[in-house]
Symmetry: D2
Subunit: 379 residues, 4 copies
Amino acid sequence: MVKKIKLGILGGGGDSLIGVLHRVASFINDDYEIIGGVFNPVWEENIGFAKEIGLPTNRIYKDFDTLVHEELKLPENERIQVVSILTPNFLHFPMAKKLIDSGFHVICEKPMTTTFDEAKTLESALKKSKTIFALTHTYTGYPMVRQMREMIKSGTLGKIHKIDVQYYQGWINKLIHDSEKRKTTWRLDPEKSGASCCVADIGVHAFNLIEFTTGLEVKSILADFNYLYSDNKMDIDATMLVRISEHVKGIVRSSQIATGEENNLAISIYGDKGGLKWEQENPNYLYILSDDKPMQVYKPGHAYNSDLSLDGTKLPPGHPEGIFDSMSNIYKGVARAVRGQKYNSGEFPTMKDGVRGMSFIEKSIESNSKGNIWVELKN
Amino acid sequence: MVKKIKLGILGGGGDSLIGVLHRVASFINDDYEIIGGVFNPVWEENIGFAKEIGLPTNRIYKDFDTLVHEELKLPENERIQVVSILTPNFLHFPMAKKLIDSGFHVICEKPMTTTFDEAKTLESALKKSKTIFALTHTYTGYPMVRQMREMIKSGTLGKIHKIDVQYYQGWINKLIHDSEKRKTTWRLDPEKSGASCCVADIGVHAFNLIEFTTGLEVKSILADFNYLYSDNKMDIDATMLVRISEHVKGIVRSSQIATGEENNLAISIYGDKGGLKWEQENPNYLYILSDDKPMQVYKPGHAYNSDLSLDGTKLPPGHPEGIFDSMSNIYKGVARAVRGQKYNSGEFPTMKDGVRGMSFIEKSIESNSKGNIWVELKN
Amino acid sequence: MVKKIKLGILGGGGDSLIGVLHRVASFINDDYEIIGGVFNPVWEENIGFAKEIGLPTNRIYKDFDTLVHEELKLPENERIQVVSILTPNFLHFPMAKKLIDSGFHVICEKPMTTTFDEAKTLESALKKSKTIFALTHTYTGYPMVRQMREMIKSGTLGKIHKIDVQYYQGWINKLIHDSEKRKTTWRLDPEKSGASCCVADIGVHAFNLIEFTTGLEVKSILADFNYLYSDNKMDIDATMLVRISEHVKGIVRSSQIATGEENNLAISIYGDKGGLKWEQENPNYLYILSDDKPMQVYKPGHAYNSDLSLDGTKLPPGHPEGIFDSMSNIYKGVARAVRGQKYNSGEFPTMKDGVRGMSFIEKSIESNSKGNIWVELKN
Amino acid sequence: MVKKIKLGILGGGGDSLIGVLHRVASFINDDYEIIGGVFNPVWEENIGFAKEIGLPTNRIYKDFDTLVHEELKLPENERIQVVSILTPNFLHFPMAKKLIDSGFHVICEKPMTTTFDEAKTLESALKKSKTIFALTHTYTGYPMVRQMREMIKSGTLGKIHKIDVQYYQGWINKLIHDSEKRKTTWRLDPEKSGASCCVADIGVHAFNLIEFTTGLEVKSILADFNYLYSDNKMDIDATMLVRISEHVKGIVRSSQIATGEENNLAISIYGDKGGLKWEQENPNYLYILSDDKPMQVYKPGHAYNSDLSLDGTKLPPGHPEGIFDSMSNIYKGVARAVRGQKYNSGEFPTMKDGVRGMSFIEKSIESNSKGNIWVELKN
């Protein structure tokens, strides 16, 4: 009998969207059961939420430290095995660090930490442990994103020479243009939200998509931020020129003031043998371009897709799966890893993605603040 | 504390797609827990599947009758409350009948029964009981399908005068063109699959979509089937002219030999004030047409949508939800009904949809066999 | 030196859209010069229009008969060679007949005649003459429509088993719903516009597209018209079931009350090896479907297209050509024919298309009026 | 009587695509007649081409200087009025200069000159003359591009804060990856093609589209070129960060190695009240975005469009017009100007667009060569 993996959740209570996303993702492939967690720092809301979603309350803990302390007392086969961290960003690092050090597997929301140094510390901790660590760059779970990765690996595009990725949203318009709101919203307060808004929130997803799909490493970047108002201290629009090598270049365009855009993450990758295009809002279409042949449109679930892609599709072609399904594929990969089953690179983003992302964020800020100059990323 | 609803499942074991669809849908809104069921008539596979998906095996029963018998012995607050019927079509009626008579709530896959008479019998049974009955016309759960219904109800299109709906697939090509396969596949054997293939399987979804979205009733139909080969006895392509009244007409086009089509259900509705278009494969886009104003594109999750639509969206605009989410909305409505909470017409298809659908199937067959003449539907 | 072909035009003056379309089409490939014609029965408007478009007025005639009479007096090398008939429908037949009998080449707008009998008479006249006759089913000139024809001919789709074509417009809504307007508009007056509105105006284009692209002949049809109001005598919406053989069927859907639709002619053709889809409003995209391979998107101007398609594209891929260009391809084919150069079947629609179209219109009316029964087309 | 404007053409003979484009554009609105020109420096080809397209040969001149000399001898009412310059780039300046100085109106292909200094010289010459000068930024003639301009002017987007424009093609792949071809093609030889390939050829169109649609002026740019191979001296891919002011920023992305892209010019403009998107390959669709209302899709020919847009559409909605029609709108505007009729800003690009474009090209090269630094544009 396959036993469900015991899952604990930190944060994500109330009407948290990220909470729904992770909870549903954990259910989809019949791999996990939610055992307990800390949904909210306020006890009433914490326990109230557990009841609302029909969870037994005996392993709902008053705080994170108690969770770790109490769970470690339990025999190993009863203990929570995987903990999902959905708390505010500044808590990701201390929680992940303690969980790793205590031998729990971790699924961590992004950004992984608030600084590159924290990321490196976490990386060291992980190396010393035997735990599995996954970072939820959710979009990497889409079947057609996985298909991009496999097709590029197999040489479909030839040698890649140009990459263009965008992540455009418009939702910050309703805050930024109101002089009162832009002073008071925590989102635009560096004290509360960290040094970056747009790059840390969405630019890093775009960056990750480049490295995830191509397997290439960005070497250096030149960033240009738009603050839109002189009294705003946070980037809400940022363009990054990126270099993989002297002759392989790219662009990362991110914005939260792209009026009317919802969640428009889109990537175009061009090589000497072909090109490809994919858009998150229509995730089940992958376009393969050629200079002299008709464009081909790949869709999930067809036998012509790679194993990694097919593994992420549950229904036959024409039955749209979405972002819950994408996240569920990451949870599925983690479940295999936790169970010691065979799994493949690409099934979930790792610590390395987190470290790279933190460098991208910090170096973007550095480039912009120094007058839009080239700076090198670190590993 | 909200207690999860106790769900039993009949059929849907192994790698059944409909099994995954219902199971995931039941999880998504934290409303149900799967208690037991009969996944497969072969005991080894039945119990094996339960273990594979991590279910306790104590309420996995050897057959349907045992399930009913044993569950009824349990105190009411421990008993399975809702049973989902995912078995082969000919079992829908006897199972639903016995469940209704025994006081269980039922979620039934479609087609509801194999004949119109059975449907009427079931309708009578339901009237005498106090149970909830839902038919899973899955596509009605999409937020934009719900939005169509509400916009039409509120008069956005004015008086409707033309409806055109298609449901095109191509998968039967790989069976039908092979003279050996088309003789041996159960799908094309009326003994095993009932009197209709294309109309019963997909045409009825298209028909239902007309009545669900417009609130209108089709009065009469004229059907033309294509069998493609003289030795094939089952419709694999069928066009139905439909009349709602002398001046309100429609077309239902269904095919399983539309080569290369995946699951292309699409509806266009035209009224004297406006038109609308929607396609299942891109379910998050609803197009509102006008003769003299720019076309508008509605998307889920925006405040401009109706309550019924918004109730079916979990994430902000731009985060694609798919068919699991659509089905989960039906389960959510049923949960409200079962709990005696307020719910609205449109949250799940009902017995009436089942009765209408069976009439549509039988009358299509009649019209075609009598030489493509007009026949009237029954209620 | 290539001399331009001398073109005369009947009708199409003032702000006639069909006038612009033909005039521009005649210029595009440097093949024709407009010599004269009769743009309008009112002399002032006739001559005024000629001046407005910068034509010499010496060969602007007061009426059609004068044109024929005077032109025939001229030496053959000065005479108008080709006459385009853009007049109201009832004049097509007498003008075409006299022109053919007098040895002029004819480019005729559609519908070719007002009855099938006239069409047959014209066909006989043409057989006795040595003139070229082209019917402007404009859409056949699009490069991707030509590509469909050639791909089907070469077997890309295998044996065709299903065809679905629609031609949806919404413009008549603004007339039909107004009880005064629908009584007074000439469009809806059978005395002035002939026996059919929707089928004769657009349905016949849809029908022609089937026969043009597939090379198949429709054998019988069953038509259902919608008049929308009891005091309206003209079809403004019409669906035709069509049979090519017992196992090869199709649907022709046409409407002028498809609210918000502009000029939505679209065709889907399915065979045992593949499918294809094309839409007039995005004419430069041709979709080739397969049950087990990625969809391919063909675009004009690429070397992978057929000669017939490439002959109709003037610019490199990505430079959109439109309906003027489509019509110009028909004029180009006629120019070759007139000059005695080699040209291919498919370069322009012929008398046979006109005869077939008239049968389709008449038989649609017959089927509908007899209660939606099957009737056979004639050649 | 409206007399046609006498048009002369320089270059564009043989199978020149730009030749077809201008010739057809001049015909479309019945405004021009081609009187003569110099199609080719080789006399045989020059006169041969004139014959091929059915032109009288008496005003086909052996070279440019002869054309000017001989035409000036003619009485003014017989003289060529407008001359279209379609010759290789380095000839644009001397020809335009002499034509302007001699009192001819000029329609000039782009780039207007080879240097900014030449552009300024031409600008001075024009100021002293009374001639009309139009630069064929062809894309500005599309009805929906004109609609963008008018909607932005009328405040639909509010205050613009972000602009993103791309012009991606892939055709240079077939030259650049072949070490022999990239050394020998004139396109990649700075001696023959000027200092820039990608920016001068297509980047400048993208830049112009920003200024044409928004009425804003780009103040400074930071450019990053990709040469792809160390032995290639010409930019074939170039990204320009652009600043309109400290808080209004944009991106110009241009590439000729975007594999599989045909002619993908696309613009997105975002303001505090709305956004818009348009793509050249589907020019008849304009998308108006909003953070809280459904997206609207504008199409040509509808009464809801601006006068400037409607003036550029000849047929009713749903009849696709393309790039010939776009260019013809520029010719139409020039005809009005030449005839002294009323015309509006926006009907054709002017000398100012040419001057701005040359500054953009030169400054892009400067920024890139100095290490991707910010440089200011000049007027």
